[in-house]
């Protein structure tokens, strides 16, 4: 049924339709509304046969999730930002143990400096943790991909992280077609665990594995992710048949055929990018990466092979080297001579606006982009702080200095 609702509420309804048996809840902005709304659904009796557990931390949230999933319960949790860092050890354990937990990440920056706004640094910090990572463009996809996520997770016995831009999607109220229970039941069969901890039939999972077998176990994890490259599009096809919507898959493209320049991105920014592209006449296409792990090297290479240049636009970067997504895209393009430019934007919630994108497109088609560009960087503020550090040994805190120089606050001087 089409409803005008908040993204977080849509996700809560979608998760409830998947009949989770355990939900581990710990609040952190900007995902809190999701677990709150699920709490209401459980308490009101709309979601039955589900244990809603208020835990004491993110580490506990995923640790409890590991236990419940290992005991054969369909398990869900959600987190963001510092929360995913606090559960980091459990994140690796969930995938290493092969437990099909679904977790939403309401994407947010990571401090310090503390910042509650959107970028994708949090999910990216766990990109190599062995989870499947799916990034959504809008709230309809957020709903649809959560439903697909349980199926992907359980078929592979691997955890899936659904990554949705914090605030921009979690707090946006827009039209969402929320599926019917009978559709979801038809699409998603009851969970049959590949391994289960049962007191009636005791086994152990999570054995110590020495040098004689560790490589093989890790190799199988890698193979499973490769299997997911085939499974994710298949499951999207099954989804399409029942729900009539194309919401998943590994990548999506628009106007990449015959494009000289292709912008590659992930998450909700594609909406603003496509609006901006519609306003100009250059041959620029766009490619959105839905599945970041596994990374669809072949699909991306094939979609970009006729471009003259590729511009990767990402809301995260690896300090000391540059774009994270760009580096992965370069791997897909290795052996071609197509240049891959990196643009870092939207960090810590800085709005990504069409005006800046138009300048970016113009620079891109004229090959005037630097290898790494920070969109809308306030160069004067940066230069002033760097100069201050040169002049003074006790130059103070960078964050406070930059806030003061940028005229944001009347921050107290530290020297």
């Amino acid at each position: 049924m089409l409803k005008q609702i908040e993204g977080s509420h849509g996700v809560a309804e979608a998760v409830a339709l998947c009949r989770p048996e355990v939900i581990c809840a710990y609040p952190i902005t900007p995902q809190t509304h999701i677990v709150e709304d699920l709490g209401v659904l459980v308490k009101s009796g709309k979601l039955t046969n589900c244990e809603y557990i208020n835990v004491e931390s993110e580490f506990a949230a995923l640790s409890v999730g590991i236990g419940s999933s290992a005991a054969g319960a369909r398990t869900y949790t959600a987190t963001a930002s510092q929360g995913i860092l606090f559960m980091a050890e459990a994140v690796y354990n969930a995938s290493g143990l092969g437990l099909p937990i679904v977790m939403t990440v309401g994407n947010r920056s990571i401090g310090a400096p503390i910042n509650i706004w959107n970028d994708q640094t949090d999910s990216m910090s766990m990109r190599d943790a062995g989870w499947i990572q799916l990034f959504v463009e809008d709230n309809q996809q957020a709903v649809d991909i959560h439903i697909q996520a349980f199926k992907i997770a359980e078929k592979l016995s691997l955890p899936v992280m659904v990554c949705m831009d914090g605030f921009i999607l979690t707090h946006a109220i827009e039209g969402i077609d929320v599926p019917e229970q009978k559709q979801v039941d038809k699409f998603l069969p009851p969970f049959v665990p590949r391994q289960v901890l049962d007191p009636e039939d005791p086994i152990s999972i999570g054995a110590m594995v020495g040098p004689e077998a560790f490589t093989e176990v890790r190799y199988i994890a890698h193979q499973k992710q490769k299997e997911a490259l085939k499974l994710i599009p298949q499951i999207n096809e099954e989804f399409k048949k029942i729900f009539g919507r194309d919401s998943g898959g590994l990548i999506s493209t628009s106007n990449t055929e015959g494009a000289d320049t292709v912008i590659v991105t992930l998450g909700s920014v594609i909406g603003t990018i496509e609006e901006a592209l519609d306003e100009q006449d250059e041959k620029i296409g766009a490619l959105t990466i839905r599945s970041f792990r596994p990374f669809p090297l072949e699909e991306i290479r094939s979609a970009l092979k006729n471009a003259k240049r590729v511009v990767v636009f990402e809301k995260c970067f690896a300090v000391g080297i540059g774009g994270i997504v760009a580096n992965n895209v370069r791997m897909a393009m290795s052996g071609t001579n197509i240049p891959v430019y990196e643009v870092i934007g939207g960090l810590g919630g800085r709005p990504i606006i069409r005006k800046s994108l138009h300048k970016l497109f113009k620079d891109a088609v004229n090959d005037k982009l630097e290898n790494v560009t920070f969109l809308d960087l306030k160069k004067d503020v940066v230069d002033r702080e760097l100069e201050r550090e040169k002049q003074l040994i006790q130059s103070g805190s960078v964050a406070e200095n930059v806030l003061r120089d940028g005229g944001v606050v009347n921050a107290a001087k530290t020297t």
Binding site: I116, W117, F167, I168, I173, G175, T272, E274, G349, I353
Partner: protein
């Protein structure tokens, strides 16, 4: 596309106003998107929320930089932030105040024809019906009267769906009161 930016302070229902407006547009079969500006919300802090209304899918996710209508729920914001930034020359401006533009000292900042600017005693109307100084529903009623972008019946239906029961009822009365007041005074400045 019609873009509305709502300014107010934490506790005045700015975010709810954007949501209600988007639901009202949805009721009319339109596409709409409501988004709060994102801060650490707290009572009294300046808050901004956005609502876009269109006949087709809305993909744009930048903040509303050039609003077609601007609602100012709190006239003490003028000294704190540039609420008028980007207001379109053909835009509408609704301000919650019983004072005049001159009395508010903002005449120089507004570059709109007089018929596009409305001062609405929204706090007073809210106190009369809701018994609390919550101007959001009142100003949505005013928006319906002045812009015609949304029907008052859709606004009241949206309020009822967000706030079922008595709270919704009194907010609906307040919104309808503002709608009637501004419909009657469509060509005059309101300073009651």
């Amino acid at each position: 596309m019609f873009q509305v930016r709502i300014h107010g302070r934490g506790g005045q229902g700015v975010v709810s106003a954007a949501e209600i407006l988007s639901v009202a547009a949805f009721i009319e079969g339109k596409h709409s998107q409501a988004v709060p500006s994102f801060g650490s919300e707290r009572m009294g802090a300046p808050v901004v929320a956005f609502c876009r209304i269109d006949d087709k899918t809305i993909r744009l996710r930048e903040p509303i930089l050039e609003p077609d209508a601007l609602i100012v729920q709190d006239p003490t914001l003028f000294s704190a932030i540039d609420v008028f930034a980007g207001l379109s020359e053909n835009g509408y401006l609704l301000i919650n105040s019983k004072r005049s533009i001159e009395e508010l000292g903002i005449a120089d900042a507004i570059h709109l024809p007089e018929d596009k600017v409305r001062l609405v005693p929204a706090t007073e109307i809210a106190l009369k019906y809701i018994k609390r100084p919550l101007p959001n529903a009142v100003l949505l009623g005013a928006l319906a009267a002045v812009t015609g972008v949304i029907k008052i019946d859709s606004v009241t239906e949206a309020i009822a769906s967000k706030f079922p029961g008595k709270i919704g009822d009194v907010n609906i009365q307040a919104a309808e009161s503002a709608y009637k007041l501004l419909s009657h005074n469509n060509q005059e400045e309101l300073t009651c």
